[in-house]
Amino acid sequence: MVTVSTANEAQLVTQAQNGDRNAFSELVRLHAQGVLNVIYRMCGDVQLAEDAAQETFIRAWQNLSSYRPQTSLRNWLYRIAVNAGTDMLRKEKRIVPDAIEDLHLSDGQPGLESLLLQQERTVSVQKAILSLPDASRAVLVLREYEGLSYQEISSTLDIPLGSVMSRLSYARSLLKAKLEPQLSLLEAEHV
């Protein structure tokens, strides 16, 4: 993961706000992976995640003057990313990759069964995440995959702390219900 000091990032932001495209490219380089991950976890489609991530940075460039340097740039970008991902998903109506179908027919290799099981679980997880309401899905992704604190999620999505807690709890209880077979299987594997 690319890291950069806060001072350096602040300097890049100032330069980009003054129209420096190279400075902005550097910011894109620093935050691309995080933004791509957030969107991918929200939509489960690589192509859609890349499109929405590009859209995220274009919106960020167009609205950079409204970014307040005292807040976290990463969280500001995540917020745009969540919106861009949700918009794109609604527009494209593209659902989870069906890589699992490609693997079904070619069996006979050792270890393929477990690989297949894991693939199947991955697809089930992505489908379950995708079935969550937009608001809960965003909170879940930011917490589970990006490790943001409740306070960070609250300021990123501009929602009260109580809503972060309730949406996360709701998302997790829905996922537990939807992924019950996979959870049992995982538990059995680890026993």
Binding site: V2, Q17, N18, G19, R21, F24, S25, V28, R29, A32, Q33, L36, N37, Y40, R41, V46, A49, E50, A53, Q54, E55, F57, I58, R59, A60, W61, Q62, N63, S65, S66, W76, R79, I80, N83, A84, D87, Q118, R121, T122, V125, Q126, I129, R143, E144, Y145, S149, Y150, D158, M165, L168, S169, R172, L175, K176, L179, Q182, L183, L186, E187
Partner: protein
């Protein structure tokens, strides 16, 4: 059961609890099998979610190039934006100055009229005070004999009122309306900035 800690388990699992609440949940978990099972199911769910690998995206360099190609060539420069911001926040100051100027003018005008009534202006009176009691259209009505007596007196009062009081009222209301509009637009702008960029249509 009401003494279970289900509602706090997510926050406990995420390390978001502190102080007495943390202590309460820890104590309860040590003694309650149902809550322990629920806590373990949270751990299991996280493990399952983490198991799903992240995707292989295009290289960072290629992604940056693609974004660069799509970046709009022209955007409002930060300097122009800053100037606009300064102008925007100066708007209420301008309104306040206009209000002070008008109020001061009206106050001085009232003071001069009062001084004139008490005969304090002597020779300077014709220079400073216009004869506001002689209304233009009531004089015309009088000349043509269209109004007389009490009717004429009422018409004169109405004309004096409309000439002296109404403009003050209109000014004050106009400035207040402009200020309220400015507050409303500022509020909308702040909400938009807080919510972060929406797609341009």
């Amino acid at each position: 059961m009401s003494n279970h800690v289900s509602e706090w388990l997510n926050a406990y699992y995420d390390g978001e609890l502190k102080g007495a609440r943390l202590h309460q949940v820890e104590e309860h978990l040590a003694a309650c099998e149902a809550c322990q099972a629920e806590f373990e199911s949270l751990q299991g769910l996280s493990a399952l979610l983490q198991e799903a690998p992240t995707a292989q995206f295009i290289s960072n360099e290629r992604f940056v190039s693609q974004v660069n190609l799509r970046l709009p060539q022209r955007r409002v420069s930060a300097t122009r934006q800053k100037l606009f911001e300064v102008g925007w926040w100066m708007a209420p100051v301008g309104l306040l100055m206009i209000w002070i100027f008008i109020s001061t003018t009206i106050f001085i005008s009232d003071m001069v009229s009062a001084a004139n009534k008490f005969g304090l202006l002597d020779d300077a009176a014709p220079l400073l005070v216009s004869d506001s009691s002689a209304g233009m259209w009531t004089s015309t009505l009088r000349q043509f004999g269209l109004l007389e007596g009490e009717g004429l007196q009422w018409a004169e009062r109405i004309e004096i009122y409309t000439r002296n009081v109404l403009p003050q009222f209109v000014w004050q209301v106009s400035i207040a309306m402009l200020y309220l509009t400015w507050i409303a637009i500022s509020w909308v702008r702040q909400r938009r900035q807080g919510q972060v960029p929406l797609l341009e249509s």
